[in-house]
Symmetry: C2
Subunit: 145 residues, 2 copies
């Protein structure tokens, strides 16, 4: 059924249960969407994508669902531009690159050594993100040709 091996509806329900989130229809579909398409969608992206499958879906529901999934730690919000929030089902530590030409967002591997961040005595860090902006290879290629 799933486009990707290992991400079946059953798996998604399992994920939800493990995080103590009741596996309702909306939640299953939203999380499944985020896990299969890993394109950092906005609320509206998710809404538009799921509308055909779930005709009764409302934008507010997507907000609620995403809020629930974020609180449960299954999804992490990222604020790259300040206007439209984006969401990522991939919660392991990694960075994000936003191409200023095409708008595409890429996950990037980051290993920040402990001594890179100084003078943080007394601070408790619960979440971190390295954001990079610039031009992606695709767009660099286009400009040159």
């Amino acid at each position: 059924m799933s486009e990707f091996v290992g991400i079946t509806t059953e798996n998604v329900i399992e994920d939800l249960r493990r995080a103590d989130v009741r596996p309702s229809t909306a939640r299953i579909h939203v999380l499944r969407y985020l896990l299969t398409k890993r394109n950092h969608p906005t609320i509206d992206c998710i809404y538009q994508a799921l509308k055909p499958t779930l005709p009764g879906l409302s934008r507010t529901s997507v907000y609620n669902t995403i809020g629930m999934l974020s609180r449960a730690g299954l999804v992490r919000p990222l604020s790259l531009e300040g206007s439209e929030m984006r969401y990522d089902a991939f919660t392991e530590d990694h960075g994000h690159f936003k191409c200023e030409s095409c708008g595409e967002i890429y996950d990037i591997d980051v290993t920040i050594p402990g001594d890179a961040v100084k003078d943080l005595d007394g601070f408790t860090v619960t979440r971190r993100d390295l954001f990079l902006w610039g031009t992606c290879p695709k767009c660099t290629g286009k400009k040159q040709s």
Copy 2:
């Protein structure tokens, strides 16, 4: 005149001229505000703070001014939450910590080694930011007492 040594109105005008930005009243006041108070204000903070001094100031002007200063590289926008953009006159490479308890934003020293970010062949990076979220020492203290 200035609350801080070294940031006089003349200095600010100099900064603007060097960046090829005409030193108009609004621009001088906004940049001077950002350079002296380094509190990552929102557009509305700046507007409210400067209103008494510049009675005719409009919110739109602050947007325009900040837009100009950003394009000129004198100010850098940071998106920490996705709803309200924040701005920083400090454009050297550094990170940001947002306290989830009191909302305060702290500048943090960061030295990210070249090899910390992998697989970025072909990407041109023009801007980067390490964001940290968590609890600041002040709030940690409050909770314990």
